[in-house]
């Protein structure tokens, strides 16, 4: 016989034996997997950001199928659209959530909170936080070393070299919450984006008494209660000398903004008021946010 025919037959025989083995193994060790997991995973953005609390998008899909409900399960990058599609797949009702965005609750720019020291260590807020209070001396403010920027998977943040503070790019931010976890000082908060992307929040985390808060930073919240008295909707609370605006209750009336003596309440994306009594500091805050 021709050697080529022998080779052909031998190889065919080997192939047939392996095919049989593979067929047997496939039947014997078959794992039943819900086909919906793959379908849901296809719908998800696939960024594996971990914002939902699971390690990756597939784990999130598995969790939905396993729980057979969408309680406490929300894909922030995908948003309401993705969740509605998933709900349709699962024959469930998706809870409609308002679009959210990360906000930086510190306005301690190099101008407002001038640096007093020269930090020389590694570029890590986590490290600097347990080393010292920060360049500006504020123990609650932004350290400006960019842990939040490094953790963002959606290119939604950058450090502004002039102000020394991180800036959120609203269009890219998916409110996954990774920056909130990365910040050692809990400065970043996920808040409702608001109608026409308009928001009001207190850009300060300083819990010290007003006298001390003002020492390092000109725009620190001093806990004076002026905004609380002005607010008719009970949206502002003061806790340990720090005001907090509840975005669920806030109606964006902007009455609290002009009464703040230190201009620590920031309004974003509002048209500039024509009245002269709004001072320039607020406008500059707004510009920073708009950048």
């Amino acid at each position: 016989m021709e050697p080529i025919i022998i080779a052909f037959l031998v190889l065919s025989l080997i192939a047939a034996i392996f095919a049989a083995i593979i067929y047997f193994v496939d039947k014997q060790f078959h794992v039943d997997e819900d086909p919906r997991i793959d379908l849901i995973a296809d719908k998800l953005p696939g960024a594996n950001c971990g914002g939902c609390g699971y390690a990756g998008c597939r784990n999130f899909a598995e969790a939905i199928v396993k729980n057979n409900s969408l309680d406490n399960l929300f894909c922030a990058p995908g948003g309401n659209k993705t969740m509605a599609e998933i709900a349709q797949l699962m024959n469930l009702e998706a809870e409609e959530k308002k679009p959210q965005v990360a906000v930086i609750r510190c306005n301690g720019t190099n101008e407002n909170c001038p640096p007093k020291h020269d930090y020389e260590g590694i570029e890590s807020c986590g490290f600097a936080n347990f080393l010292f209070a920060g360049d500006g001396g504020c123990a609650y403010g932004c350290l400006g070393l960019g842990d939040c920027v490094a953790t963002c998977k959606f290119d939604a943040m950058y450090m502004d070299p002039i102000t020394g503070l991180p800036v959120v790019i609203e269009d890219n931010c998916t409110a996954c919450g990774n920056c909130v976890k990365a910040c050692p000082r809990n400065i970043i908060e996920i808040r409702n984006k608001g109608p026409k992307n308009r928001r009001i929040y207190v850009a300060c985390m300083n819990k010290e008494k007003g006298v001390y808060a003002k020492v390092n930073c000109s725009v620190a919240c001093i806990g004076c209660n002026a905004c609380v008295k002005e607010c008719k909707f009970d949206a502002i609370k003061i806790e340990s000398f720090l005001a907090y605006i509840d975005y669920q209750k806030c109606t964006l009336c902007r009455k609290c903004v002009p009464v703040c003596p230190t201009n620590c309440i920031v309004e974003v994306n509002f048209p500039i008021k024509k009245k002269a009594n709004i001072d320039l500091a607020n406008d500059s805050n707004q510009n920073i946010e708009n950048n």
């Binding site: 020389e120 590694i122 986590g126 490290f127 347990f130 010292f132 209070a133 001396g137 001390y212």
Partner: protein
Amino acid sequence: MLKTFPRGGVHPDDCKISANSPIKVAPLPNKVYVMLNQSAGAPAITLVKKGDHVKTGQLIAKGEAFISANIHSPVTGIVDKIDQITDATGYKHQSIVINVESQEIWEDGIDTTNDLLTDIKATPQEIIEKIKNAGIVGLGGAAFPTHVKLTIPQGKVAEYLLINGAECEPYLTCDHRLMLEKSEEIMVGITIIMKALSVKKAFIGIENNKPDAIKQLTSLTQKYSNIEVVPLKKKYPQGAEKQLIKAITGREVPSGKLPIEVGCVVQNVATAKAIYDAVQKNKPLIERVVTITGPNLSNPSNFLTRIGVPINHLIELAGGLPEDTAKLISGGPMMGKALSNTNIPLTKGMGGILLLPEKLSKRLDPYPCIRCGRCAHACPMGLEPFYLEKLIIKERWEEAEKHWIMDCMECGSCQYTCPAKRPLLDYIRLGKNKVSAIIRSRKN
């Protein structure tokens, strides 16, 4: 052949420029700021209120937690306020501010004479009780409450007492001067600790760059026969607990365990002196010796000063802040921490204030790691700092834990020796912080 620890270590320049300056008593400022969190562990709870008149040595804050130390008034005066004061890191902590009165009145029962009392009347329990009441903490730098350290856990036996007179940090000379000027008191203090622990043998480890201290204490060992002075080869970090044990006894403390595991208890010489004061003279820990030094300081000195004195007062006494000062360090240049301003008060754990000019303090730009392995060679704990750095950058905390990151004592030998000037210790400290948080969450 002089003894030393076998693994790793570096040889930084001595720079003990204040070694020949005798201990001076620093005059009191107008105000002192007594921090409530001076020791490791929980902060003390204040017992006085605004407007109270306090005597020197009066108990003003009580350490109620297990790991916590009492705090006594370092001066006579009136409590001005109890408020948040910026500490060395820039963070604020609760402190008692006292306006100092010129007429000093000591609390009753405190012996303020300089007479040497060698006769130890107290029983071991009384000694530990007195140390606890006097608020004594380890004066070497960590400020761990001494009474906790001297309470031997059940089932363990202390065999040797090691006294740390190594003072391996460059620039610092406070322990050196204390050994020269208060040698008898230190010897009595050591005898007291030996009685409290019921150990038969004590060693004082002193590096051989202090021959006068070795000579002086050795001459006293004829009188105190169960204390032995061990001259050690000069090598950093000889004063670290585990390294000192290895150097003197040859024993190795297992990873994650305390020195009592190998039958040793380590105390600093300054702590021995404070224990002498507390037990023999009923004097609480309200003063310590501090080295104020720096290459450009006009008058580098060692001061006997009260706790709570603002350090700028001490710097003024040492000749004032030199103009080119770029960095202030509390402690030595190797392990010390940079200070955020000069207005912070002295705490029990501060052994020295170092003022460095820009040339000596500025970090150089790091280059990529060339894998020369010098850091691993220099590490006294036998770790691989270059590898740990990589793991931390990649946020692989679990793997870093497996590579014994928690054994690092932050001596900084790796960073000192790195030819690429990599910030190895910064990363390792960040990693230790994260890993210890993971370990804590695992326990809960």
